[in-house]
């Protein structure tokens, strides 16, 4: 393996007890926070993060420093929220950070909160991550005890409180305004924009929501400087990024790569290629919501925001799903359509009705009861869903099914022509079909 030099965010993942503040501090932890509080102005911190080119790691890839700059100057109550509602199928990077290096997330959150003048920071952890709530709460308690949180942090005069909030298990609470509604105790449904949360968010006050990996990147940017951060990655996609890889490759799991790495190299040298007896068919690059790439398309692209956009897909959250040749694409899309149907918040009509309709059409196809017209219907339904709703969940359902249909249409057609029920290779898919 040649990739140890890129282990920056993940450098403490295999160190014993890195979740303890003593280990973290001994490894240079909270130095960034001290530097910020004693030597830097807020403007300098925001400028440094802007300069680093750090982009939101939750999926949208919006420049973090720019987002922080949207907070109005003349408001007193400002909130900072860390989005740990990691629920995108195929994505499991944030849980590693929270589990193995929670203090790096906390330090990054405190620096970010300070930069935007927040008085309260909420770490919103998805409900299914029950054990992580305890893990992170323990780390927050340690940070309070060490004087990194609470009143007058490190004698700087800055006061910040931090709450660990557990979600109730809804994918949509990972959308930042859905998350804010959830923290307010409301139904987890995205809000209309404008106004954007940086102006009017939690309790109608400016609120910045950043992904776990985004805030975890902040301490290193502060300590080593933006130019050091930019040594990895490309001009527009700076730094390293965690990819969570699932599927039958030799080395699945978490990999931290410099952005811009060719997929070919990543696949063969980092992942070790397919497991024995498997053959690569397709790749979902950035979580289940992004358009699928065929093996050939994947091999020609690089892993950064721009190259993947050019290839017709997205970097997303870095939740990479490797699809082997034996996989039935119609079955796979059924699993995904079930997911989006189940997770649609139901607020906007196109998404509420559209995700359900797509799910029913795919179920029908799988039962061998579909017609060729159904394939056109899928495209038609998708047209009425894409880009027309409050949040992107609707698009997140449309992008995979449209790309599956475009690239693997013969598999859909074969199902229709055989008029036979497709035999599922997965017990779970069999269950949800009924």
């Amino acid at each position: 393996m040649t990739n140890n030099q890129y282990k920056i965010l993940s450098r403490r993942f295999d160190r014993n007890d890195a979740h303890n503040i003593s280990v973290y501090e001994a490894d240079g932890g909270y130095v960034g926070l001290k530097k910020v509080l004693s030597h830097m102005s807020r403007e300098q911190v925001i400028a440094e993060v802007k300069e680093s080119g750090l982009r939101g790691r939750g999926g949208a890839g919006f420049p973090a420093g720019v987002k922080w700059g949207f907070v109005p100057e003349d408001v007193e109550d400002i909130y900072f929220m860390v989005n740990a509602d990691e629920s995108e199928p195929g994505t499991f990077k944030d849980r590693f950070l929270l589990d193995y290096d929670p203090h790096m997330v906390i330090e990054g959150s405190i620096i970010s909160s300070w930069a935007v003048r927040a008085k309260l920071c909420v770490i919103y952890i998805r409900g299914e991550f029950g054990w992580l709530v305890d893990r992170v709460q323990a780390a927050v308690d340690q940070a309070y005890a060490a004087g990194y949180l609470g009143e007058n942090i490190q004698g700087s005069g800055y006061t910040l409180n931090m709450i660990v909030h557990k979600g109730a298990g809804a994918y949509i609470c990972g959308e930042e305004t859905g998350l804010i509604n959830s923290v307010e105790g409301r139904k987890g449904q995205p809000r209309l924009k404008p106004p954007f949360p940086a102006v009017c968010g939690f309790l109608d006050k400016p609120t910045i929501v950043n992904n776990v990996e985004t805030v975890a990147s902040v301490p290193d940017i502060i300590i080593d400087g933006a130019s050091e951060y930019r040594k990895h990655g490309t001009e527009k996609s700076a730094g390293t990024k965690l990819f969570s890889v699932s599927g039958p490759v030799k080395n699945p799991g978490i990999h931290e790569i410099p952005l811009g790495l060719p997929f070919n190299e990543f696949f063969h040298e980092w992942l070790g290629g397919m497991a024995d007896g498997e053959e690569l068919k397709a790749v979902i690059m950035g979580g289940s919501s992004v358009p699928v790439l065929t093996a050939e398309e994947a091999m020609e692209t690089n892993l950064d925001y721009e190259s993947l956009a050019e290839a017709g897909t997205m970097l997303g959250s870095g939740g990479m799903i490797i699809i082997p040749e034996r996989c039935d694409m119609v079955e796979l899309i059924q699993v995904l359509m079930h997911f989006y149907w189940d997770e649609s918040c139901g607020q906007c009509t196109p998404c509420r009705e559209g995700t359900g309709w797509l799910h029913r059409i795919v179920k029908k196809l799988r039962k061998g009861e579909g017609t060729l017209e159904d394939l056109d219907l899928i495209e038609n339904v998708c047209e009425g869903m894409a880009g027309l709703t409050i949040c992107p969940l609707s698009d997140a359902a449309v992008m995979p099914i449209i790309s599956f249909l475009e690239k693997y249409r013969p598999e859909f057609e074969a199902l229709i022509q055989n008029e036979k029920e497709s035999i599922s290779s997965s017990r779970w898919a069999r269950e949800i079909r009924s």
Binding site: G346, G356, V381, E383
Partner: protein, 517 residues
């Protein structure tokens, strides 16, 4: 001001105007919509009012966008029309399309918008629909059909922000989401039927109106609610001689778009069993000539008692009679009658529609003791026009010793004891005006015919004036209204024959504070 180009038309709007409203003006018809309602917070969930704004990559909903100077908007491009059609189709895929048994049919947003923007062949088969419970009683006035609901959330927002009672909510998520009330909670507030009005489909219907009449059979007239001194502007929906429902009529200065549930029941008294239908003299039915003979026999009255339920026109005729014949001896009844509870929305404590009008006509109110003294002091017939003194038994006992000429609509203690009972018209059976508590003169119009043998109040009063030898008796309603301006000094410069549809406050130089709605 912002200059905006909509569909090629250059228009100017005040800053802050909703693009939805601007488009309505430019197009001459609103954009397709379900969730937008001018009196409720923006939800932006039906996604129908999509428009194309130059410089924006995606279509945008007009209800959550404000006009900006220089904005160029398209509402009829192929892209927009296609989006409208597709989103409408998504609204309809799980709708039961049970229009033949749906009360809303004929005034339904889904039907109207399908005809305007849809007109596609259905792509979804019947067995494939998501179904939900039908005919769920959720309160004393309202019944819910969850199957027809398009989840526009108007009712939820109404209960949350207008009545602030919050009974309704959307439960579950995705296409399993359904509208309803929480377990053990009833939709039971004084304004609950407004959710029926704002429901764009047949999901919420009125238990009172349900299955009574196809709405396209109904005709409407503009009227004023007689239930209290607020004077909510209403619409009477009727067919032939029956009123089927009352709906609020928009008047920004009075009731906005709402009215209370109890006002909606006012029509029931019109066709009530206890209506006075034929003239009676000394307890036996007579024809009108006989009745007039009897009245002539009794001689001229010495006291006129009108009622705060009478129209302003009738009040003034009563005052005319009192001042010309009874030496100005007039009262509009008891000062503490017809009082009840008020709330901070529309319902007023004064349960009469025209106490202000009675005052303008110069008729004073008295306490029961004072009124009894006044009645005792009269040694001539007493003319009572539709007052029943709120059923005060002391007054009826006092009236027992007197000759009473009663002009009324319903049976009551007074009609039972009166020597002469002349049946007259209910408010829905005649034209007239009420003056509300904020001095707003508002017109109501006849919807249905009065009972065959009953009279129209002003004609009967005019006949009595002639009977008692008065001259210059008005011969028509416009003449009565001219007389109002002559006899009421506050209205001397006010043209009663040219009152605007939303009513007017006479001589209102100062700003109108009638916007309590």
């Amino acid at each position: 001001m912002a200059k905006v180009v909509i569909d090629g038309k250059e228009l100017e709007f005040p800053d802050g105007t909703l693009l939805f409203d601007a488009c309505k003006e430019a197009r001459g018809e609103p954009l397709p919509h379900f969730c937008y309602h001018p009196d409720l917070p923006i939800a932006g969930v039906c996604r129908l009012c999509q428009v194309e704004i130059e410089g924006m990559p995606k279509l945008t909903i007009a209800c959550n966008t404000h006009v900006r100077d220089g904005m160029v908007v398209h509402t009829r491009t192929e892209k927009v029309i296609k989006a409208h059609k597709q989103i409408l189709e998504l609204h309809l895929i799980n709708h039961p399309v049970d229009c033949p048994i749906c009360d809303q049919a004929g005034e339904c947003g889904l039907q109207d918008q399908y005809m305007n923007y849809g007109l596609y062949e259905t792509n979804v088969c019947k067995d494939d629909k998501v179904t939900n419970p039908k005919a769920v009683v959720i309160g004393p006035e309202v019944i819910l059909d969850k199957d027809r609901c398009v989840l526009c959330s108007r009712c939820v927002r109404f209960c949350r922000t207008v009545t602030k009672t919050g009974e309704m909510g959307i439960f579950n998520r995705g296409d399993k989401a359904e509208i309803g009330t929480a377990p053990g909670v009833e939709l039971n507030n004084p304004y609950s039927v407004n959710v029926v009005d704002i429901c764009p489909v047949g999901a919420l219907t009125s238990r009172d109106f349900r299955f009574k009449k196809r709405v396209w059979m109904l005709k409407s007239v503009d009227s004023i609610c007689p239930g209290c001194a607020t004077g909510c502007n209403i619409r009477l929906d009727f067919e032939a001689d029956s009123i089927f429902r009352i709906k609020p009529r928009y008047n920004e200065d009075v009731n906005g778009r709402w009215m209370c549930d109890s006002g909606r029941k006012e029509y029931k008294s019109v066709a009530a069993e206890d209506r006075l239908k034929v003239p009676t003299a000394n307890g036996s039915e007579v024809d009108w000539p006989t009745l007039f003979n009897e009245i002539r026999e009794f001689g001229k009255p010495g006291l006129v008692i009108t009622s705060p339920h009478n129209s302003l026109e009738e009040q003034v005729l009563g005052q005319f009679i009192a001042s010309e014949i009874c030496g100005g001896n007039i009262s509009s009844g008891l000062s503490d009658s017809f009082k009840g509870n008020a709330d901070d929305m529309l319902v007023d404590a004064d349960k009469t529609p025209n106490r202000t009008g009675a005052g303008l006509a110069g008729a004073k109110e008295y306490s029961a003791a004072e009124l009894i003294e006044k009645i005792k002091a009269v040694d001539a017939p007493i003319l009572i026009h539709s007052n029943d003194f709120d059923g005060n038994s002391e007054i009826s006992t006092t009236l027992d010793a007197k000759t009473v000429i009663y002009l009324g609509t319903h049976e009551n203690e007074i009609s039972k004891q009166a020597a002469i009972v002349a049946p007259v018209s209910c408010w829905a059976e005649k034209d007239g005006s009420f003056v509300n508590k904020h001095n707003r003169v508002q017109l109501f119009k006849r919807a249905v015919a009065r009972p065959v043998a009953a009279s129209e109040d002003w004609r009967l009063l005019a006949d009595l004036m002639r009977l008692w030898g008065l001259s210059d008796v008005p011969e028509s309603m416009p003449a009565v209204r001219r007389l109002v301006s002559v006899r009421v000094s506050e209205l001397s410069n006010f043209d009663m024959n040219a009152i605007a549809i939303n009513g007017e406050i006479p001589g209102a130089a100062e700003p109108d504070d009638g916007g309590e709605g």
